[in-house]
């Protein structure tokens, strides 16, 4: 599904190397988790994969089902099946949540040569999915993320993911800011989407989310590299002991 090879990334504006050779392969249907200290480059990796500006890839490659991701515009990556649930979802005053989502769904369908969804069909689908995530109709009418609480923003990310049905879902700290019940809702939302043709890369600091979304593989990222890869037990180790031992091992 997703294959990242020796990815080196620096900031476009300054001479600051952030990713220093990331190697990562996520197979179809798998859930991988990435943990790692603050500032280790987890969000940068997710941004670079989704095509945000401001970064320069100096070496390496990233492909989604064989397609070179780094060559595509952000919207083309989305149409190819990539989705990023943002660590900090953006507020967009003046753009209605509903308008935005319908535009996005139909733009992706169009890019894939599928028919657009009619307004009524779209409404039906979004109402059902919003209900599952306990997002009320009033929130759908508001401008994108404007005035949403931290947890509401995160649930809105998952709603977008559910509507767009991507193949490769990257969740950047979707658990942060969620209360215990909301975390359960979000995890249920993610688990409902789990399927043999869909993969997840879950960035988190806490074991708690991984209790709900069971990962197949756990990676530890530090200083722009994956320093250790293991099974679910690796997350428990981090939870109990922090990163100190892992970082030391590396030296």
């Amino acid at each position: 599904m997703l294959e990242i090879k020796n990815l080196h990334v620096k900031l476009e504006e300054e001479d600051k190397q952030i990713l220093k050779g990331v190697n990562l392969t996520v197979g179809a249907g798998q859930v991988h988790a990435i943990m790692g200290p603050n500032g280790s480059g987890k969000s940068t990796l997710s941004y670079v994969l989704s095509g945000r500006g401001g970064y320069e890839v100096t070496e390496g490659a990233a492909t989604l089902n064989g397609t070179d991701l780094l060559d595509l515009e952000p919207e083309e990556r989305a149409a190819a099946g990539l989705f990023l649930a943002f660590q900090y979802p953006v507020e967009i005053p003046g753009v209605g949540n509903m308008t935005f989502l319908r535009t996005a769904v139909n733009a992706q369908r169009k890019a894939r040569g599928e028919d657009e969804l009619s307004a009524t069909d779209f409404l039906k689908v979004i109402r059902a999915k919003a209900k599952d995530l306990q997002i009320d109709a009033e929130m759908l009418k508001r401008p994108v993320n404007v005035g949403f609480s931290g947890g509401e923003k995160k649930r809105n990310e998952i709603l977008q993911m559910a509507m767009l049905e991507p193949k490769m879902c990257i969740l950047d700290e979707t658990d942060s800011g969620l209360d215990v019940d909301a975390m359960k809702l979000v995890a249920d939302g993610v688990n409902a989407l789990r399927d043999a043709g869909r993969s997840f890369l879950v960035i988190t600091h806490y074991q708690r989310l991984l209790d709900h979304i069971k990962p197949d593989v756990v990676h530890i990222m530090a200083d722009g590299k994956i320093i250790k890869t293991g099974g679910p037990e690796l997350a428990l180790e981090v939870e109990n002991n922090g990163y100190a031992d892992l970082l030391e091992e590396r030296v």
Binding site: E75, T103, A107
Partner: protein, 428 residues
């Protein structure tokens, strides 16, 4: 020195080109007075502080710069709305294309006919609001208009007008120079919606004087037409009585030169005046909103909301002032002007001003200009929205605050679809 001695050569040339001022009928005195005033002040020049950001020469020169007639196949503006339609072609009234002006709650007449009479109420308004609006800042092109206007609409609203009155300004001659002057009196408790649309002429000088009686309401929506080469200078003078309402919205799409001045005087307590505009320009586009709101009564509210989208070297100007006089306590004044610059070549020049002599008031103003927010753009694109569509969504979102100023949802939807069309035509 005689007052009528012209101050500059420009005013002589233009006045000569315009010919004689009509000296008979009930408006003759107002016209003669206006001519004297404009001779004394001269016409605006680049050196005038009030014209610092907008070059007045093409508006004041005797010879009209040509403006090619712009062909388009848009559906007529406000076409879906039941209305009494009045049509001017290059500044000349077209009775055949106009509806019968008989309408409950309102008397509709032509200025050209009214001025032939010896007695008419229009005499009490014509040139009066314009004259009052000349201080503290002179507006010579409005005085020129009062002196030379060839026609216009004279409206007396006595009740709730049965439907909106619309004025369409067609442009069919590429050197037409139109001077139109409308006079509107809204009686106490009466209510009028006025729609205006179209470029009007190669060069249009339009004045509208609106007197709103106690508890009266005036709703105004105008769209200035898509012609690229047209020029326009417009002045709206409004005087508001107690508990009256004035709401005006202007959409400007294209146009090499537009100067819209709005001069509002809140003279009765608890009156409300909202003036707003959305303008979009591409390339050779210069658009100037100049607003002057005077609070001279208790507990009045005024609101100015102006948004401009500029690309390819287009220029937007905003000069907005709120003047709160000494006794205008409890004034609520708000002013915002913003420009979205779609590239680095475009510019927005703003001069927001507050001048407050009362102590118990709430007034705020703000002005910003900037590019599309890159984080928002990326967020939309990351969901699969192509960059052009995402940019349009953001642009319409930017304009939304101004469009929201229009009360009638059908009118707002119509204007919004025009803006969408304009953006869609610019997708590369």
């Amino acid at each position: 020195m005689a007052l009528s001695q012209p101050k500059d050569a420009g005013v002589v040339a233009l006045i000569d080109a315009l010919g004689a001022v009509s000296d008979t009928g009930c408006l003759a005195a107002a016209r003669a007075d206006a001519l004297t005033r404009v001779r004394a002040t001269g016409l605006p020049t680049r050196r005038d502080e009030y014209w610092r950001y907008t070059r007045p020469d093409t508006l004041t020169q005797a010879e009209v710069p040509t403006a090619a007639v712009f062909a388009h196949d848009d559906a007529p503006m406000f076409g879906e709305i039941d209305q009494v339609r009045l049509v001017f072609v290059d500044g000349v009234f077209d009775p055949a294309a106009s509806d019968d002006p008989a309408l409950a709650g309102i008397v509709i007449e032509r200025l050209a006919e009214v001025q032939q009479r010896d007695i008419h109420w229009a005499k009490e308004v014509y040139g009066k609001l314009e004259t009052a609006g000349q201080t503290p800042v002179a507006r010579p092109l409005a005085a020129l208009n009062t002196a030379f206007a060839t026609d216009g609409i004279v409206l007396h609203v006595t009740g709730k007008a049965g439907k909106p009155v619309s004025i369409s300004y067609l442009h069919e001659n590429d050197t037409s120079d139109a001077i139109l002057h409308h006079v509107i009196r809204i009686d106490a408790g009466a209510d009028l919606t006025l729609l205006e649309q179209g470029p009007g002429a190669a060069r249009l000088n339009k004045v509208m004087e609106v007197e709103i009686g106690d508890g009266g309401a005036f709703h105004h929506v105008q769209a200035q037409g898509r012609d690229h080469e047209r020029r326009a200078v417009t002045h709206t003078f409004a005087r508001l009585g107690t508990e009256s309402r004035f709401k005006s919205f202007t959409l400007t799409v294209n146009g090499v030169m537009t100067r819209n001045e709005c001069i509002i005087e809140l003279t009765g307590d608890d009156a409300v005046a909202h003036v707003a505009g959305a303008s979009v320009g591409d390339g050779n586009f210069h658009h100037d909103d100049t607003v002057f709101v005077t609070h001279d009564a208790l507990n009045c509210e005024s609101r100015q909301v102006f948004k401009k989208v500029l690309r390819n070297g287009a220029t937007g100007v905003f000069q907005g002032k709120i003047l709160v006089k000494k006794d205008a306590q409890k004034t609520d004044g708000y002013q915002i002007s913003q420009a979205l610059l779609l590239d680095g070549d475009s510019q927005f020049l703003a001069k927001p001003e507050l001048e407050i002599y009362a102590d118990d008031v709430v007034c705020s103003h703000g002005s910003t200009s900037g590019a599309i927010d890159t984080d928002s753009l990326f967020y939309l694109r990351s969901r699969g929205v192509p960059v052009a569509e995402a940019t349009d969504l953001m642009t319409l979102a930017f304009l939304a605050e101004a469009i929201d100023e229009i009360d009638d949802p059908a009118l707002a939807a119509d204007l919004l679809s025009r803006l969408q069309g304009w953006l869609a035509r610019r997708r590369s």
